[in-house]
């Protein structure tokens, strides 16, 4: 009937179609974007031709007397001639481009020029309208809410009719999976079937939205967007602990956080006024990209990569824009520039982070948020108070001291190397003869400051034995030496207690030359967790200098000093945030002149190295610098060397600080965003290369969209506020579209990742706008949005498709039926667990390892007990070898932000469901429960099992098939009871007291079969 109507329409009114007014966005943009923009589009810098067809101004420009388009005048429009030309030199697109315009496309372009060649802003860049009219249709008995009015209006246009209403059983199955990712329980189905009230459907939706399962399902969807992973990714792919962020997401959905707040906290929770711990935790979202540790990598290359990932994720997740296209050049299709890209990236680059995480230590890459438990929080407060109390009780030494010549006490002296001779590659240690320093022949003995010294090769270290001077951050210490640099060093390691530079994130303490200046530091993780000071003046070249690094054990930059030639050097504070230990990472001894994969002190001279495990007084250091001169004592010298009260006080303080450290050490931390005090400089990177800095940029939003109200000193919070503006053209549309896709299988914009010119235009633009406006007006309430969809008549249709309807609308764009679709990977597994009763209903916590992780490309040991039976949202995600079951069933790999999944059907999926231990075990446990419930009543078992997997009762034919299945299997297992016993052993759950193994095995196969049945794994 429908078909006949269409034919009549087409045959009856051919002229109507031909004279239809050309709509630029609908008709013309897709053609010129796809076939013209590459060479005549917005990326003017990278195209040969001067002609651009991306705006009226450009398209009508006079180029040497030729105009591409003269509105209304085909003959004068060069475009017309070029697209109609057969001459290979003239024709457009060029033959070399291997693109062609169809005749219909040429007609559209001509007609568009004739009708005036109007341009329109790309639909998705127009502000979200304040109000959208709901179509008023005459025959509207079908409508249940506004959604249906829009759908029906379009169906009428297409001369299609909606399908009939689906059964209550199918509807509750559909909605329960869509909203919770789990099947409805039989009792829930029964209650719904019995509920004859007009509110029955709404009751179900309201109930579902309140469940934890809903929060988990919504989280599962968001993890793809957030590229969530429990490991760092790239090549080495170590584990990292970020599940606390995943739990933040679950909680956000559980409390139905408004979507604008949900976005704001993830983008900029740290910048909210009086940000709570949870709000800061939300920003982990920006750090979930892969991170690199491979030795020898260039840190800046990867730091830039991380920032890029944040921008791309922000673009895809919230704006539906393909920002990545503008990383190297202006966008080929959309009005986005390279400057826009780097202005956006400036919002995300302003944190104190490293391009590589640490290979030799398990430090969490900075910036981090500490996540103390309640008990730890209390302990920490107490420990902090104890330290502060003691610090305020500093004893005093007399102002005036008898000015005698200072003698340097040998107390605390651990090392003294005079470098007089190198015997068998050893330098004698005068402080401890048992502990000489070792080196090799490349470090030469040469005339030094006093007698001989050493000339360092830069590739060879002078190392003290294991454990020498392995100071904690609570231990005051002092290192002094004579040194001479042969040239201005960009970077050179003078001494260090530290295994490596980037490979250990400089864990330990060190004295470097950086750009000719001395730089002293104590480091937990470079750059974010350390204290560092640097001298203001450069160290003289080619002259012996006496240098000392002096530290008081306070974990503060103010407690760190550099002395040059006996005088306290003027320094600047570079970093002052040390909250964790500096020991560890290997090489627990002090060494000179070289460090793994760092720049050594090439051709540097050293002499008279002293190491003390106490803070030296300034007077003592002065004496070391001038042993022949008289150095008078002073109050501070007295305090550090003679004052007994001070000595006692220092010991108490050290104990208090150690207690504090012990508490801090046990506190978990997680990567978050924290802006630097001074905004970091940001640049356009030429062709996207980290080495090619071009113009400076400041944080800004893309020019084609609304500007920030106050563009000066903008930060991520300004960006978040801009994003959640009620008029923002993209934010609400992109979100609504994704949730529409979740409920209806296909977005109103079927390219949810691209709302730009190359994306697909919306099938129902007014509906998208209406829903978006409604969403914003209702405070970005997801419950409101989802309820609207779930309760629509559109959602309530049958999914069966007639061959006619399939022919008319194969992709189901117009929704004259409900979509059918394989349920998501997580749901397939969770369904099996739920039906069998094995599913653990615990919410949150560390990720777990189901059976299949043992069969992963990067295998890890499976969990025991409940860890095997938790919802798939908790499955440990290893980037370089994700859960093979999830992968086989089409889950996203979570390498980068993804907003949709491709659905496939492969035999490998069947093997997983047929043979995977998780599924076979679940089927057995389910079978056991059926027997417990129904005893010997086969018919009851068949019906019950079928209902569990399909939510409906089997028909006669289905019962007949299942009956044959059961008898065949039973006969076979009876004939071979040993096989039954073997089969029943699958999985960790033990089945006890098997009365009738062949029967249990046969029912196990039955349940397994139903688990593989199309209706159990397909949303219909």
């Amino acid at each position: 009937m429908i078909r006949v109507l269409t034919c009549l329409l087409i045959l009856g009114f051919p002229a109507f179609a031909a004279e239809k007014k050309i709509d630029f966005n609908r008709d013309v943009r897709p053609i010129i974007s796809d076939k013209c923009f590459k060479c005549h589009g917005p990326d003017s810098a990278n195209q040969k031709s001067d002609f651009r067809i991306d705006s009226l101004e450009n398209a009508t420009a006079d180029l040497d007397g030729i105009k591409g388009i003269v509105p209304g005048d085909l003959k004068e429009s060069e475009v017309h001639w070029r697209i109609r030309s057969d001459d290979p030199d003239d024709m457009m697109p060029t033959p070399k481009s291997k693109m062609k315009l169809t005749e219909a496309e040429k007609d559209i372009i001509d007609k568009w020029i004739q009708q005036g060649g109007e341009f329109a802003k790309h639909w998705s860049l127009n502000e979200l309208p304040d109000k959208v009219e709901v179509p008023k249709l005459k025959n509207n008995e079908w409508e249940r809410n506004e959604i249906d009015a829009f759908i029906l209006a379009k169906l009428k246009e297409e001369t299609l009719e909606p399908s009939t209403e689906t059964s209550k059983e199918k509807w509750i199955r559909r909605v329960t999976f869509d909203l919770t990712g789990l099947p409805p329980k039989l009792a829930e189905i029964d209650a719904f079937l019995d509920d004859q009230s007009p509110k029955a459907y709404e009751t179900v939706v309201d109930r579902l939205l309140k469940t934890d399962a809903y929060a988990e399902r919504m989280t599962s969807e968001w993890l793809d967007v957030a590229r969530y992973s429990d490991t760092y990714g790239f090549q080495v792919d170590r584990n990292r602990e970020v599940w606390q962020w995943r739990d933040w997401v679950i909680n956000a959905f559980r409390e139905n956080k408004t979507y604008d707040q949900f976005m704001t906290e993830q983008v900029a929770g740290d910048l909210l006024p009086n940000a709570t711990r949870d709000q800061i935790l939300a920003t982990t979202f920006n750090r979930l990209h892969g991170q690199k540790v491979e030795g020898g990598s260039v840190p800046e290359e990867f730091r830039i990569e991380y920032i890029a990932d944040r921008v791309h994720t922000f673009g895809t997740a919230f704006l539906g824009l393909t920002m990545e296209c503008t990383r190297c050049h202006d966008h080929k299709y959309d009005p986005l520039t390279q400057k826009d890209y780097y202005s956006m990236s400036a919002f995300f680059s302003n944190i104190d982070e490293a391009g590589l995480y640490s290979y030799f230590t398990p430090s969490v890459p900075t910036p981090t948020l500490e996540l103390p438990t309640e008990a730890q929080e209390k302990q920490l407060a107490e420990a902090n108070k104890a330290v502060a109390d003691l610090e305020s009780k500093k004893p005093k030494s007399p102002e005036k001291i008898d000015s005698t010549d200072v003698e340097i006490s040998k107390a605390g002296q651990l090392v003294h190397l005079d470098f007089e001779s190198n015997e068998k590659n050893k330098f004698q240690n005068d402080a401890d003869k048992e502990k000489p320093a070792s080196t090799n022949g490349n470090n030469k003995v040469v005339p030094g400051k006093f007698g001989n010294g050493a000339k360092l090769s830069g590739d060879d270290a002078v190392n003290l034995p294991k454990g020498t001077a392995n100071f904690t951050r609570n231990q005051p210490f002092s290192v002094a030496l004579w040194m001479q640099t042969p040239n201005k060093k960009e970077r050179a390691v003078v001494f260090r207690r530290s295994k490596a530079w980037t490979d250990a994130a400089s864990r330990g303490y060190e004295l470097l030359i950086e750009n000719g200046k001395l730089s002293a530091a104590l480091v937990h993780f470079e750059p974010g967790n350390s204290i560092r000071i640097r001298t203001k003046s450069e160290i003289p070249i080619g002259k012996w200098q006496h240098v000392a690094m002096n530290y008081d054990g306070s974990s503060r930059a103010a407690g760190l000093q550099i002395f040059v030639n006996g005088k306290l050097a003027e320094t600047e504070m570079v970093r002052d945030n040390l909250t964790r230990e500096i020991t560890g990472g290997g090489d627990d001894f002090i060494g000179l002149g070289q460090r793994m994969r760092d720049n050594g002190f090439k051709n540097g001279l050293v002499d008279e190295l002293y190491v003390y495990d106490r803070q030296l007084s300034g007077r003592e250091i002065a004496k070391l610098a001038a042993p022949d001169k008289t150095v008078k004592s002073d109050s501070s010298h007295h305090f550090l060397t003679q004052n007994e009260n001070a000595k006692k006080w220092r010991a108490e303080l050290k104990t208090a600080r150690e207690k504090r450290s012990a508490v801090q050490k046990g506190i978990k931390e997680i990567m978050v965003m924290r802006d630097k005090a001074e905004p970091a400089e940001a640049y356009i990177l030429d062709r996207g290369s980290y080495e090619a800095r071009a113009d400076k940029v400041t944080p800004a939003t893309p020019e084609v969209l609304a500007a920030l109200p106050d563009p000066k000193n903008a930060d991520r919070l300004d960006l978040a506020n801009w994003l959640t503006d009620p008029k923002h053209p993209l934010t609400a549309r992109v979100a609504v579209n994704r949730y529409w896709q979740m409920m209806f299988g296909r977005g109103l914009v079927s390219t949810p990742e691209d709302f730009g010119s190359q994306g697909k235009p919306p099938s129902h633009p007014e509906l998208l706008d209406w829903l978006s406006r409604d969403f914003v007006e209702n405070d970005w309430d997801l419950h409101h949005l989802l309820k609207k969809m779930a309760l629509s008549a559109t959602y309530r249709q049958i999914s069966d498709v007639t061959s006619d309807l399939r022919e008319r609308d194969p992709e189901n764009i117009f929704l004259a039926r409900s979509p059918s679709r394989k349920i998501a990977a997580e749901m397939i597994r969770d369904n099996a667990l739920a039906v069998s009763g094995l599913l653990t209903e615990k919410v949150g916590g560390p990720s777990v390892n189901p059976y299949d992780l043992e069969a992963s490309f990067k295998p890890s040991k499976r969990s025991t007990g409940e860890g095997l039976y938790r919802r798939s949202v908790y499955t440990f995600w290893k980037r370089t070898g994700p859960s093979p079951v999830m992968m086989t069933l089409d889950a996203s790999k979570r390498e980068v932000c993804r907003v949709n999944r491709e659905e496939t059907a492969s035999p490998l999926q069947s093997l997983v469901l047929l043979n995977g231990p998780q599924f076979v075990e679940a089927a057995r446990v389910g079978a056991q429960k059926l027997i417990e419930k129904h005893g010997a009543n086969d018919a009851a078992i068949l019906t019950d099992a079928f209902r569990q997997f399909t939510s409906r009762r089997p028909d006669d034919r289905e019962l007949e098939i299942l009956q044959s299945l059961l008898s065949e299997q039973l006969a076979a297992f009876k004939a071979a009871p040993a096989k039954a016993a073997e089969f029943l052993k699958t999985g960790d759950t033990k089945t006890e007291e098997i009365e009738n193994a062949p029967r249990l095995a046969a029912i196990n196969v039955l349940v397994s079969t139903l688990m593989n049945f199309d209706e159990s794994i397909t949303k219909r």
Partner: protein, 481 residues
């Protein structure tokens, strides 16, 4: 050779058929969807010998990837001058400010080291090869050796990713996935893109995305065959379930699906039925093809005793031949362990002992079975190694760091001109001086041999068309027949 960094504007009409497009095109026809869903079309037109755009010269590829970066200097790229100048500093005029890795980049001294291994000419063509390759040198006349390979990556992660996907960063489809997408399958009982990784080798870690489908539909993922009972994930029925029991179960499952199909007319159910039938056939066909132990003793003589141990490189070479015989189109081997930063002389000896005989055997074996003419065999890694010593050079022992500017790969078989040596490096094996072959060129050449124009095999994602060669790539014609 590419001198400019890539800008992304590859753009052609899309060729492959996505599920959505398939639905659009074959929506009405029964079975159309089943076909589109499961098989991604048949190989290209018979007139083109399986090719898509032009006549294919090869039907399948066996790619022996040598992960870690084998030293070109000690295997194929003989340099007398380097040997003569051993111990001297790498001249700045040679390095030309090139970036080094953080592993040797901060070394105060970069001493040159020539190869301590003897080189000689082999075959009629006279390929120079080192004494480390006694077996490979015997197939010299079948090999086209490319000495001018080059890349931009200086570390393994980006390097291998670049070599296998055409981009240094994660997210793009692997070469095998592109072929799968373009050519479909030749045997519906086996996956068309199979991955074999040598078992138990340390070395630089490999990651599964190297055979991933990126943004292509997931069915184009490579399928890794493991060297154990379950060659693919959960291939075998659970204990206690024999084939007849499984058959009976599937018959009833089919009954349910057919009944459903009758009721609803939904052709997706045909897909479902086909999917389970194919799984059933795979349960038989995969154990059959992986039963390497059924080979006669002469095979093990050829490939070496190692081939008897599942998961060794030799066993994987043999497996590759068996898969090729059954119509598997792209067989990707991975053999890690070439990352010789230190102790190179000993390390490379062990490494070549594991690989030399089997690599040569594979070519020989294919040849004697008449399959070499339509099988492309490739050998090589992600980059080369430096001509200078990483760390201390004590006169005998040394290591080499990663080197992107030149390295060697070889190809043999379908469409390849045996005995050709292509490209030239300078006297220090540091820079390419003639006929550079970039990774994109390498990819373009492989696609060309399979009858694919690399500029026309593309996929639209996020609003633009992507292809394996990005916007680059030239077919390396001199090595082709």
């Amino acid at each position: 050779m590419n001198t400019t960094p890539p800008i992304c504007s590859g753009f052609e009409s899309p060729l492959g058929v996505s599920r959505r497009q398939a639905l659009g095109q074959f929506g009405g026809g029964l079975g159309g969807i089943a076909l589109a869903n499961l098989m991604q079309g048949k190989p290209g037109s018979p007139d083109l010998n399986g090719g898509l755009h032009h006549k294919a010269k090869t039907k399948r590829v066996i790619y022996m990837f040598q992960s870690g970066g084998p030293s070109q200097i000690d295997l194929y790229d003989h340099k007398q001058r380097l040997i003569d100048e051993t111990g001297q500093e790498l001249p700045d005029s040679v390095r030309q400010g090139q970036r080094l890795t953080g592993m040797s980049g901060n070394q105060a001294s970069l001493p040159l080291v020539g190869s301590p291994f003897k080189f000689a000419q082999h075959g009629e063509c006279g390929h120079m090869m080192s004494e480390l390759l006694p077996h490979t040198s015997k197939i010299a006349d079948d090999m086209a050796i490319i000495k001018s390979m080059n890349t931009e990556a200086i570390n393994h992660g980006p390097g291998v990713t670049f070599m296998q996907t055409g981009s240094q960063f994660a997210g793009r489809p692997s070469m095998g996935s592109w072929l799968n997408y373009g050519l479909g399958t030749m045997n519906e009982n086996l996956p068309s893109f199979v991955v074999l990784v040598t078992k138990g080798k340390g070395g630089q870690p490999l990651v599964s995305r190297l055979w991933g489908s990126g943004f292509l539909p997931g069915k184009n993922d490579g399928v890794r065959f493991r060297p154990d009972k379950d060659a693919v994930l959960y291939l075998n029925s659970p204990n206690g379930i024999d084939p007849s029991s499984r058959r009976k179960m599937l018959d009833r499952l089919n009954d349910l699906h057919e009944h459903q199909l009758e009721k609803s007319g939904d052709t997706e159910l045909e897909t479902r039925i086909a999917q389970y039938e194919m799984a059933y056939r795979m349960q038989a066909s995969i154990p059959e093809v992986t039963a390497v132990d059924k080979e006669p003793e002469s095979t093990f003589k050829l490939y070496g005793e190692d081939a008897k141990t599942p998961g060794t490189f030799a066993a994987n070479c043999l497996m590759a031949r068996r898969l090729a015989e059954k119509g598997v189109q792209f067989i990707q081997l991975y053999h890690p362990g070439w990352d010789h930063h230190g102790g190179l002389p000993g390390g490379i000896k062990r490494q070549t002992k594991e690989t030399d005989q089997a690599s040569a055997a594979l070519v020989t074996d294919l040849k004697q079975r008449g399959m070499l003419e339509d099988t492309l065999v490739i050998w090589g890694g992600e980059f080369g190694r430096t001509n200078y010593c990483q760390g201390k050079f004590n006169g005998t022992n040394f290591g080499r760091d990663h080197h992107p500017r030149c390295f060697t790969k070889w190809m043999a078989g379908g469409g390849i001109k045996g005995g050709v040596s292509h490209g030239e490096t300078d006297d220090y094996s540091y820079n390419v001086v003639n006929d550079g072959v970039h990774i994109h060129d390498f990819h373009a050449t492989i696609l060309h041999l399979l009858g694919i124009d690399h500029e026309r095999l593309n996929f639209r994602y996020q609003g633009r068309y992507f292809r394996l060669t990005d916007v680059h790539g030239h077919v390396v014609k001199p090595i082709l027949t």
